[in-house]
Symmetry: C2
Subunit: 305 residues, 2 copies
């Protein structure tokens, strides 16, 4: 398993007894991320057994309450639990001042270092990059400054094809790093052995695009092109397309259109308006345009293998 998404909450606006605002837990290539943090996120993390200590990076799309008001409680709880590791929070400009003010007023002086990465660009930018994963912003259009996030695994090192390598006693263990790095090998005889012969092709890196909240925005298509999994908000059905336009949200059809045009492999919908009692209608509507459509619900896990 290289990519696994757990839905912690997926409803819009106000929390209800069994409807939690947006939050997701992403495991990708041994990295563990929280994406958005509506009120109650820490409780949902406990419910679905997300280890608090695994989380080192939190990504906040925008500062509306249903994506943000659970952050302060989570950070405070990390402090109460004596966290010592540093924690990185990515989110719109202003998030640092607001969060620090709340922590100060509550005198929640934690031992761990809280590092904010404030975002303000309207262009896609690389905001996280290590040897395993990269994260780019996906500029969205909503009533406040908003980014989606594109999480991509790095190319994995090639594995050695030991049986084929055994056919060339001239190849030394010292060459293995070069082979893993994708290089051909030149034998003392001058013969060139192609890298393909000496390695087992590694799994294709996986990617996940998170897009919430946003109006219908085709400009994101080049950024999310060919993603393995796309989460796209679908606050309304097409019967409320006017309201979607007015509130800068999307309909299920619009999300499906983006998924289709971007040639993603799977689409998962969420951020349903409370006016719809039957969320299956979202899936039905989207499937007429893009068949590989799933519905977010609390506790749902989507694995990309």
């Amino acid at each position: 398993m290289s990519l696994r998404l757990t839905i912690l909450g997926c409803h819009s606006a106000t929390p209800r007894v069994n409807a939690f605002p947006t939050s997701q837990y992403l495991e990708i290539n041994d990295r563990h991320f929280i994406i958005d943090c509506g009120e109650g996120t820490q409780r949902q993390m406990r419910k679905y057994k997300v280890g608090y200590s695994k989380i080192n990076h939190i990504f906040i799309s925008h500062l509306h309450g249903d994506h943000f008001y659970g952050l302060i409680g989570l950070l405070s709880t990390f402090g109460i639990l004596n966290r010592e590791k540093e924690l990185h929070v990515f989110g719109p400009k202003g998030i640092k001042e607001a969060t620090e003010m709340l922590l100060n007023i509550s005198q929640s002086h934690a031992k761990y270092e809280l590092i904010f990465h404030e975002l303000s660009s309207t262009k896609s930018e690389l905001i996280f990059d290590d040897e395993k994963v990269s994260v780019h912003t996906i500029p969205l259009r909503h009533r406040v400054y908003t980014n989606g996030f594109l999480f991509k695994e790095k190319e994995k090192p090639k594995k050695l094809h030991m049986q084929n390598i055994g056919n060339y006693p001239e190849i030394d263990k010292a060459d293995y790093l070069n082979i893993k790095a994708g290089r051909d090998i030149v034998l003392p005889s001058g013969e060139v052995i192609s890298n393909e012969e000496l390695t087992i092709a590694s799994e294709k890196p996986k990617s996940f695009a998170y897009c919430s909240d946003t109006c219908f925005l085709p400009s994101i298509i080049p950024i999310i092109k060919n993603a393995d999994l796309l989460y796209h908000e679908a606050t309304f059905l097409s019967d409320k397309e006017d309201l979607a336009k007015k509130t800068l949200h999307s309909t299920a059809s619009q999300a499906a259109t983006i998924a289709k045009e971007a040639n993603v492999k799977q689409l998962i919908l969420g951020h349903y308006s409370g006016r719809y009692k039957n969320t299956e209608l979202f899936q039905e509507e989207a499937k007429t345009i893009f068949s590989e459509t799933l519905l977010a619900e609390p506790g749902k896990i989507i694995e990309v293998n």
Copy 2:
């Protein structure tokens, strides 16, 4: 029913799946109050069917997260639900700036007026007073500035004893208001008819004292004397009295001692530390000092008749 308390949450520190931080809903003489507002309060209000529109006053004891971090979400939700009535929030100095900053950063511009009553006195003061109810602060001692609250019904108007009044044809309807106001009546003959004869004694006004969070603090006893119901925090059992002292919390025994010395009618305990799996131990410990001890649990309703 003149006083009814609904426990929305009653655990300390960090929310867990079935443990919600402090919040209570108090109905007293047709007034409807929320007391403290830990994360998830709005969800608990929905769960226990507390009508959002009934709430016009919220009292926050102190700004630790487990009593405060649910306020912003609730206020924001009131806005989303198009509340128009003004809302009063009582709490420590600083609550206004923090709350307004969060509402601004989320661009949660509601139509209703939000009126803050910031508290900073270390003496008990009258902070709410209308024809039905009064509320006084109860200065507490905790790691940050903290108040408890004493909610008291006003004396109810006396009811006319129509049968006895019928014995005196000289008494006119115009006298009824005077009788209800407690005055004796002088007949044209000069005879004085005592008010007791002409009225039915009204129910004694009820009172509720809310004390959380605090160390053991006998100075509150004169303020809460003879209350019908006392909620007092009991974060620890006596086995952790040292820890209670260090963290400025109370033990179950200490809460019971306050209840006994203040001669209250009933004590309800809460704010249990997560280290105790069996909350019944709190009741057992307290009952050795004060027998009329109840345990708070989410959804529990205590009526004082």
